[in-house]
């Protein structure tokens, strides 16, 4: 599997963010998108996820499921964590699992994998910043998708959480997945760097 | 005792009062039973005595 972008151009709010960006990501390899604040890392991820319209260029996923569009094969993990405070931790995860189409059986094990097994019954409103982030990460394992688009995934995680997450990413890559992550801190795994906007 | 031409209004007043008061009494009694049953279940599940003291303080 291979994700390619050619001649990408991004315009937001009438201002050009970047232009003529090319990138490649192959299965089993992590791509770390780096660049200064405001360079366009988040914008690139949202372009790939189909959440922003391309102002130019093209993005293609080769070797994926031909019946599905690119966004349908991707997980997007943004700053906003898509959690409902009034639902419990487990209810939040199970909803996404059912809605995104995973098997309902393994919600509990996904929660345990991110270290939230013991607070599955708490309302999500009670979670700390890192616990919220862990709950979003649980989505990645609860539903299988070949392409992970991650926006600063390690923020708010403690050291143990970062190690846990590095294991998750490694497992995903080893099973032939793709991974594009925007980040300011080291991801904790080997990754090819994609720099946006020069060495700011 | 004769209730005059408006007997039904008087009887209805007293009847509604009796009914609502009865509902209140039944509600309170049933609620008591329910909580007692829950407490017994928790006891049976072995939530320790020490924690019971704490629980009393928390409430």
């Amino acid at each position: 599997m291979r994700l390619t972008g050619r001649g990408l151009r991004c315009v937001r709010g009438g201002r050009e963010v970047f232009a003529d960006l090319d990138f490649d990501a192959v299965a089993g390899e992590a791509v770390a998108v780096v660049g200064a604040n405001g360079a366009g890392k988040t914008s690139l991820l949202r372009l790939i996820a189909g959440l922003l319209a391309l102002a130019g260029g093209s993005i293609a996923l080769e070797g994926g499921d031909s019946e599905l569009t690119l966004p349908e094969q991707a997980h997007y993990l943004g700053h906003r964590d898509a959690l409902k405070p009034s639902l419990s931790v487990a209810e939040n995860l199970i909803f996404w699992q059912q809605f995104l189409g995973g098997e309902p059986a393994d919600a509990q094990s996904s929660l345990a994998a991110v270290g939230l097994g013991h607070i599955a019954h708490l309302p999500a409103a009670y979670l700390s910043a890192g616990q919220r982030r862990r709950l979003s990460l649980a989505r990645l394992t609860a539903v299988k998708r070949p392409l992970w688009l991650l926006d600063e995934p390690t923020s708010a995680l403690d050291a143990e959480g970062q190690a846990m997450f590095a294991r998750l990413m490694t497992a995903h890559l080893e099973s032939g997945g793709l991974l594009v992550a925007a980040t300011h801190t080291p991801l904790g795994i080997a990754a090819r760097e994609l720099r946006i906007g020069g060495a700011a | 005792m004769t209730l005059g031409p408006y007997a039904s209004f008087i009887v209805w007043s007293y009847a509604v009062c009796a009914l609502v008061v009865a509902i209140l009494i039944v509600w309170v009694a049933l609620d008591y039973r329910k909580q007692q049953a829950k407490l017994r279940a928790l006891d049976a599940a072995g939530v320790s005595r020490r924690s019971k003291r704490n629980a009393a303080e928390v409430s």
């Binding site: 937001r12 966004p71 349908e72 991707a74 906003r80 409902k84 909803f95 059912q98 809605f99 189409g101 | -």
Partner: protein
């Protein structure tokens, strides 16, 4: 299908927890019905005549008050991004959300109507007729209101703007709803015709609403 059911279940759960349960909807309806005599003045005959209008206004109000957050909440917490990316067509997801909203906010009103009819001095059959018009008419309110809710997300605007967009769309529903209900009470006009039109409006809005809302949401992603 699982996906849509999950969506409906989630939205009802949230609506009941955040809004405080279906009872709150009924209570609100009660408050509106009680409010009207104050606004109109204590004239029982007039009240009876305006009864259907009052109940319909209450329903309109309840939907206006709760609809504006229908998509906004999902947009703000990022859920909408994931919904848009999912394998479920956005139109179906929108329809599921609207259905959940109606189940949580519209249905309780319909159920409470016969009781509230008593306060407005309506007799049993009239109350039932009004309840029937509300049953077939309130989905139209929800499904047209949904378009406004989606536009609110696209425009990054809230508050009264949405009400201004939705109100004109709901005028036909209101007209035929009140007409059908009025016909059932006073009876010179036939009940059937406006009622059928009401059904037609509901069906049409159930088709148009999700498409318009989904189209608007797609434009609004950024």
């Amino acid at each position: 299908m699982t996906a849509l059911l999950a969506m409906i279940r989630r939205d009802i759960k949230i609506a009941l927890r955040v809004g405080g349960g279906a009872l709150i909807g009924v209570l609100f309806f009660l408050a509106v019905v009680v409010l009207m005599p104050f606004a109109i003045g204590p004239d029982l005959a007039l009240l009876q005549r305006l009864g259907p209008a009052v109940l319909w206004l209450g329903a309109l109000l309840a939907s206006l008050l709760t609809l504006d957050r229908l998509f906004m909440a999902d947009h703000e917490d990022g859920s909408l991004d994931l919904i848009a990316m999912s394998r479920t067509p956005l139109e179906f997801a929108c329809a599921a959300k609207a259905l959940a909203h109606w189940l949580a906010a519209g249905l309780p009103l319909v159920v409470a109507t016969p009781v509230l009819g008593l306060l407005l001095n309506l007799d049993g059959s009239a109350s039932l007729a009004i309840a029937a018009t509300l049953l077939v008419g309130t989905p139209a309110l929800t499904f047209t209101g949904m378009i406004g809710a989606a536009l609110a997300v696209t425009l990054h605007r809230g508050g009264l703007l949405m009400a201004v967009l939705v109100l004109p769309l709901s005028i036909p529903v209101l007209i035929f709803g009140v007409a059908a209900a009025g016909a059932a009470i006073t009876g010179p006009v036939s009940f059937g015709t406006p009622f059928q039109i009401l059904c037609a409006l509901s069906l049409a809005s159930m088709v148009i609403g999700p498409f318009a809302a989904a189209a608007s949401l797609r434009q609004g992603l950024d």
